[in-house]
Symmetry: C2
């Protein structure tokens, strides 16, 4: 099985397979006399594993650990779970970050006329706000913040 066949069988893409080898995610493949890489069915399984893990957003570093655990017949499932939950925590943090951005922008866009006039709360927010916290009804007066 050469790299093109392994690519078709795994769905991973020949260049990506070579890349994964170069960074040590997969071991160096065997070679034919001519220098062609040779793959086994098991190699294809590893590639599929990696592909699925990437689909779930795991970093290469974590996938390395997951592959290692997968190969280890004596792995404690707790370790796998910890890797997964660490990743979940990062995903949730990222989601919260993007959620905050999106909500803020939706609010600003909602307040924008969206016509030919230049007045725009979106630009006003970007230009003026020091931190960007939306002020609702209590507006701009600095209130009890005297020096």
């Amino acid at each position: 099985m050469n790299i093109g066949e392994a690519s078709k069988a795994s769905g991973v893409g020949a260049k990506l397979i070579r890349y994964y080898e170069s960074i040590g995610l997969i071991p160096e493949a065997g070679r034919t006399a001519a220098g062609y890489r040779v793959y086994s069915g098991n190699d294809v399984n590893v590639l599929r594993f990696i592909k699925r893990a990437r689909t779930l957003g795991f970093s290469i570093e974590r996938i390395q650990r997951l592959v290692g655990l997968w190969q280890d017949r004596n792995r404690p499932s707790a370790e796998v779970k910890r890797v997964a939950l660490d990743h979940v925590a990062e995903l949730e943090a990222k989601i919260a970050e993007l959620r905050a951005m999106s909500d803020t922008l939706k609010e600003l866009a909602n307040a924008c006329h969206g016509d030919d006039r230049p007045d725009c709360p979106i630009l006003r927010d970007l230009a003026h706000e020091d931190g960007g916290a939306h002020a609702h009804h209590n507006g701009c007066h600095k209130a009890t913040q005297g020096p």
Copy 2:
């Protein structure tokens, strides 16, 4: 005002200011006889605008358009709104993607004992699943998919 002062005033970071200049996001700053960059209060406002826009996750490319619209007194707010809503759409798409990853992983992790035993539904999913769709009760039988 040199780059360090502009950095402190804008909160942007001297290296990043130079980078923004190098990619054309901000115009080339004036220079002293010795070659030091010189900034005005307005430059600082632009930097703050950029910083806030980055906080909201806008790409450099979109920020360029936003800065252009900001400077244009005759801008139609509709254009600003469109840039913002395009970005919101991308944010929502990304959120949905991460949400799907996180939910799948939470489900798998929830089904994982997380103890010393090697059996683990997370690894089973990564290893075996062709697409990763969770099958619930209708399991593995290929049903009516005969050739």
